[in-house]
């Protein structure tokens, strides 16, 4: 036997699925009922994407309720590959029932439930196993499961306390005390904490043994701190922290923050009268100041903690009206700048403390202005850079005219070029110490662009940043700035080039891909078959697959090795990635690119419909990082991130919801799948039901809901598109509903296709005999009367044609032009999706919808006309773009930054060429793509 099976495993291990299947067939010929071999064949089939055949075998094996370890293991992989985690639970449960004395099967059943987050069942199994096998760790599994069930968002409020009490009862019943095992101890204290039993929790962490556990386990120590806080032991914690600072020389900010909290705690306590409390706190402030002063004296400039603590103390004292010396804050700021001005972090350090006004501001500004440029050493240069950033932060609106800002931009740039000399010998992977001056200059230019709407300033920013990045190749900061600016300038290929140079990896795809993929369909050339942006979407989404494949296994392993303190972290992490907003924003962009490239048929429509409906039930987490983009704009001005947003709107949850509604509705109309059919044809589990009450409403009601806060996230053109899409689908709904074949016919068709593919009928389907005759069952009702198309639909394309001219003549930036154009094309494609059903003359005839066909024809012709006009304009726009004259204009615009050597005329000309080429490529491509889209769907 082993001799026959081994080659199968070997083939599977080396990824040769084909030979694995062959080897399986060989065995199955002689032993057609060998379950293990069937399971292994199913696995090889899943891995070679032959899902239908795999399903068949998989169901056969499941039906015979396997209970031996090799078959179960093989099936676990098969089911995981098919996304059928629920079936995995059933499989192990059945096996465990057959062999209730088998501990391993019990464990696997528990794990199967853990994987799908079924904490209730997990808790019951663990309790049962504890009774049966008398091993303590099963008891703790059940405690943890009860705790997790209490935290599950789907658990009703009232049940939570019950579950926590259950967890408490269980953990108290343990034969061995929890402190023998740090993680069990952690779990025990957590249960007490969540029940609000702070005294008991405090007793545990402060007991002899508890102290030992906390001293060697950081997770427990963090919990101990939390318990102290919850018990309101702010004063005691403060004293303890004070000792840590003085005796152990601990410079962790946590300790300083604890002392600060303790200093001001008196103000929060109720009961005592306000004046007495204030006086007492005043005295405490003096003492704390002495403490921090001592730290500063001891540390000098070796450590920033004491200095920053003094600043924070002063800030809080001012906030509570307890500052005694009005000049103190200024003195502290000056001394901090004196001591740490040469460190790169000085600006970030001081930012929270420099919201000054009046005389304070004047004094502070005077100090900074005295800081002249010096390029003799890196700390000197940094001192100058910090002074510039700090000065800029407090510039008043009056000091920010386009002229003064342009002057500043030039001044920062000159300093940058001078500062470059300091880093001329650095290895290529190092950053130039002067980089931030280039960024300051670019941000000043962008600000002037915002003020004047003159794109010349964006060219200046782009060219000088290109110069800087050539000298600081690893500067992701400069590259992110360029990505933003190139998107505004309509040079997406350059943006992508810089984005790729950042080398975004793993989880960063989730947090950073918004820089390049937000509204990426605007910049996609999928319509002419260029799939660069499309594949970027897929690339960025790979992390979500790794997450769903891997993270759950780590949760299982955390149970296995009893790392209770980490389980919730892993669960939260998995959830944040799984339900990431960015994930679905990218998905939406991918759909928008896909429809411009692929034939619009039932395969595309049905698949996307199901996926988008799943997304529509999710509760999202926004993991996008916008703070990574440096902001050196004055506090009176909008931050750089907002200044460089695409048309001043960043897509968020509301935006996603609108586009989901648009596309779900469109695909729903186009699709023959209704919910009953979908259930039968779906492979794998449905996602867990969401706890958002809104998802409990009927889908059609949800799709029709219009919310202002969602619309607020749209650009005006997107908002118009939304109106168009809603009106269009409303108009067409009755005709679709009348024409759509009945579910039985759809299933019969699906069964026929499956049988052709696999040679076996589709399982679990009973097809009524009359359904299989043809797709158009005879209707009892009369067809709905055809009404005139609404004006919003008929006029939409003409309106967009006007919008296009408006932007073109109004000299809008290229991204705005592309936005208008791609939305117009998308409106056309949406129209195609929703009218494909009515293309076949037989359908029109059978359903007596001739009048409708006529309307559709007219609208389509009108839309095509507009698209081809726009296309012509775009193509000639692109021609004008890539000319020597246009490049000269850009070079001319960049006069403020052109220098004698280095950043010279030739360098800027080269940047101008890259920009105009990139722009020509996208505008020309989009233009040609529109014609192609029209032709494909004529």
């Amino acid at each position: 036997m082993d001799r026959q099976i081994r080659p199968i495993y070997e083939a599977l291990d080396t990824g040769s699925n084909k030979s694995a299947i062959l080897a399986c067939n060989k065995v199955l010929k002689k032993q057609p009922n060998n379950l293990l071999v069937k399971a292994l064949k199913a696995l090889a089939l899943v891995r070679s994407q032959k899902v239908e055949e795999a399903l068949l075998l998989c169901d056969e094996v499941l039906a015979s309720k396997p209970a031996d370890d090799p078959t179960l293991t093989a099936m676990m992989h098969v089911l995981r590959g098919l996304g059928r985690h629920m079936d995995m639970v059933t499989m192990y449960e059945d096996a465990y029932k057959q062999h209730p004395g088998n501990e391993e099967l019990g464990t696997q059943t528990f794990f199967a439930n853990v994987r799908i987050g079924n904490w209730k069942a997990a808790q019951q199994i663990a309790t049962k196993m504890h009774k049966q096998f008398q091993d303590d760790h099963y008891l703790y599994w059940s405690v943890m499961s009860a705790l997790l069930q209490a935290h599950d968002p789907t658990t009703p409020e009232a049940l939570r306390t019950v579950l926590l009490k259950l967890a408490h009862r269980l953990v108290s019943s343990s034969a061995t005390p929890s402190f023998y095992h740090a993680d069990r101890f952690h779990l025990h204290v957590t249960v007490l904490k969540e029940l609000g039993l702070y005294d008991e929790a405090y007793e545990m962490v402060e007991s002899e043994t508890g102290k030992i556990v906390c001293s060697s386990n950081l997770a427990c120590d963090e919990l101990r701190r939390e318990i102290w806080k919850l018990k309101g032991l702010t004063e005691e914690a403060g004293e303890r922290a004070e000792r840590r600072i003085l005796e152990a020389k601990d410079r962790n900010w946590l300790e300083f923050a604890t002392v600060l909290d303790a200093t001001f705690a008196g103000l929060l306590s109720e009961g005592s009268d306000a004046e007495t409390a204030k006086a007492a706190v005043g005295e405490r402030i003096v003492k704390t100041r002495e403490l921090f002063g001592k730290v500063v004296e001891e540390d000098g400039v070796k450590d920033r903690s004491g200095h920053l603590a003094l600043l924070e103390l002063e800030r809080r004292a001012r906030q509570h009206g307890l500052a005694t010396d009005s000049a103190a804050l200024n003195s502290l700021l000056e001394s901090y700048f004196q001591s740490f001005g040469g460190k790169a972090c000085c600006y970030e350090d001081l930012k929270p403390y420099i919201n000054l006004e009046g005389d304070d501001l004047a004094r502070w500004t005077a100090v900074l202005e005295k800081q002249t440029a010096s390029y003799t050493s890196v700390p000197d240069l940094w001192r100058y850079i910090n002074a510039q950033k700090l000065l800029r932060y407090n510039l008043s609106a009056a000091a920010l005219t386009p002229e003064t800002e342009s002057q500043r931009a030039a001044q920062y740039l000159d300093a940058y070029l001078e500062g470059l000399k300091l880093g001329k010998d650095l290895p290529v992977y190092e950053l130039q110490p002067a980089d931030d001056l280039a960024i300051l200059s670019a941000q000043a230019f962008v600000h002037v662009w915002k003020q004047t709407s003159d794109e010349a300033f964006l060219y200046n920013a782009a060219a000088l940043l290109e110069y800087a990045v050539a000298r600081s190749k690893m500067s992701y900061q400069i590259r992110l700035h360029l990505v933003r600016i190139y998107r505004l300038l309509g040079a997406p290929s350059l943006a992508l080039e810089h984005y790729r140079s950042i080398n975004v990896k793993q989880v960063q795809n989730d947090t950073l891909s918004h820089f390049i993929l937000s509204r990426a369909s605007t910049f996609s050339l999928s319509s002419i078959g260029d799939l660069t942006y499309t594949s970027e979407c897929l690339e960025a989404s790979r992390i979500y697959l790794s997450n769903s494949e891997e993270t759950a296994e780590f949760i299982v392993r955390a149970f296995g090795s009893e790392k209770y303190s980490q389980i919730r972290d892993f669960i939260m992490f998995e959830d944040r990635l799984d339900n990431s907003l960015q994930r679905d924003l990218v998905k939406m962009e991918h759909v928008r690119m896909r429809i411009a490239h692929e034939p619009i048929n039932s395969e595309l429509v049905d698949m996307e419909l199901i996926e988008l409906k799943f997304i529509f039930d999710r509760v999202h987490h926004d993991n996008r990082d916008f703070d990574i983009l440096a902001n050196y704009q004055p506090r009176s001005v909008t931050p750089f991130n907002q200044q460089t947003q695409f048309l001043e709107k960043t897509p968020g949850l509301g935006w996603l919801w609108v586009f989901l509604k648009i596309y779900i509705k469109a695909f729903q109309l186009a699709s023959d799948l209704d919910d009953t059919v979908e259930d039968k044809l779906l492979i794998g589990d449905r996602p867990k039901p969401s706890y958002d009450p809104e998802t409990k409403m009927p889908l059609n009601e949800r799709l029709a809901m219009r919310k202002q806060e969602e619309i607020d996230e749209l650009t005006p053109d997107e908002s118009l598109f939304y109106d168009y899409a809603s009106t269009l689908s409303q108009w067409l709904t009755p005709y679709h509903d009348y024409t759509r074949p009945p579910p039985s016919a759809v299933l019969a068709e699906a069964a026929k296709i499956t049988e052709q593919k696999t040679g076996h009928p589709l399982k679990g389907l009973e097809i009524p005999p009359n359904a299989a005759t043809n797709g158009h069952a005879r209707k009892d009702e009369e067809p709905p009367a055809v009404v005139e198309p609404p004006e919003l639909v008929t006029k939409y394309f003409d309106d967009m044609s006007k919008r296009f001219k408006e932007v073109l003549e109004g000299k809008g930036l290229p991204h705005e032009l592309l936005h208008v154009v791609t939305l117009t094309q998308e409106a056309f494609l949406l129209f195609v999706i929703e009218t494909t059903r009515f293309k076949a003359p037989s359908v029109i005839k059978a359903n007596k919808l001739g009048a409708l066909a006529q309307h559709i024809k007219e609208i389509r012709a009108r839309a095509s006309g507009v698209l081809s006009d726009i296309s012509n304009s775009l193509i000639s726009y692109a021609e004008r773009e890539a000319t020597a004259e246009r490049r000269r204009e850009i070079v001319q615009a960049c006069k403020p930054i052109i220098h004698e050597s280095g950043l010279d005329h030739d360098f800027v000309l080269n940047v101008a060429k890259k920009i105009t080429d990139a722009r020509k490529q996208i505008v020309d491509g989009v233009g040609k793509g529109m014609v192609r889209v029209c032709k494909t769907h004529a």
Binding site: A219, R304, L308, E430, V507, D510, T511, E550, F554, D625
Partner: protein, 158 residues
């Protein structure tokens, strides 16, 4: 205002700034998760106002050669450029080393550094007291050699 605290899984999302600048090697999601789960005491982050400005990812050596003693290994250490020269790397390293010695009884800690990375080499050798033990040819994906360095932890043994 830097706090050093144990790294958590979710910190992965906040670590991009450090990684963008300083991490040329490709570590998979699994690799991070494995570290977090297996040696939760050895990895730390430096946090400032909720922003992660540095971290150390470390582990215990799993295949200890015969005759060798149990020892730790620094997989990755990174401090945001603007937070350099503040002693953060040293503080991160010391936290991790203490745990290696006390929790896992490590007798020394090892790490690899690019031959060309003079700044890092200086930090490990001069500030932290590591010594070069060996040169590993073509250790990095791009073919560059690595210095294998180590530091005894015997003085921390409790």
């Amino acid at each position: 205002m830097v706090s050093i605290r144990p790294a958590r899984v979710e910190d992965l999302m906040g670590m991009q700034a450090c990684n963008l600048q300083n991490l040329p090697e490709n570590y998979t999601l699994k690799y991070y998760l494995y570290h977090a789960l297996t040696w939760p005491q050895l990895s730390y982050v430096a946090e400032e106002d909720g922003k992660i400005v540095g971290y150390i990812l470390a582990k215990m050596e799993e295949d200890v050669a015969e005759g060798d003693e149990p020892h730790g290994h620094v997989t990755s250490i990174s401090v945001l450029r603007s937070y350099r020269r503040l002693g953060l790397a040293k503080r991160l390293m010391i936290q991790s080393q203490e745990a290696m010695a006390t929790v896992y009884k490590a007798s020394y800690v090892s790490l690899h550094v690019r031959k060309s990375n003079r700044a890092a080499l200086g930090l490990y050798r001069d500030t932290l007291g590591f010594t070069v033990k060996d040169i590993e040819k073509g250790y990095y994906a791009d073919g560059e050699d690595a210095y294998a360095m180590r530091l005894s932890l015997k003085h921390l043994a409790r």
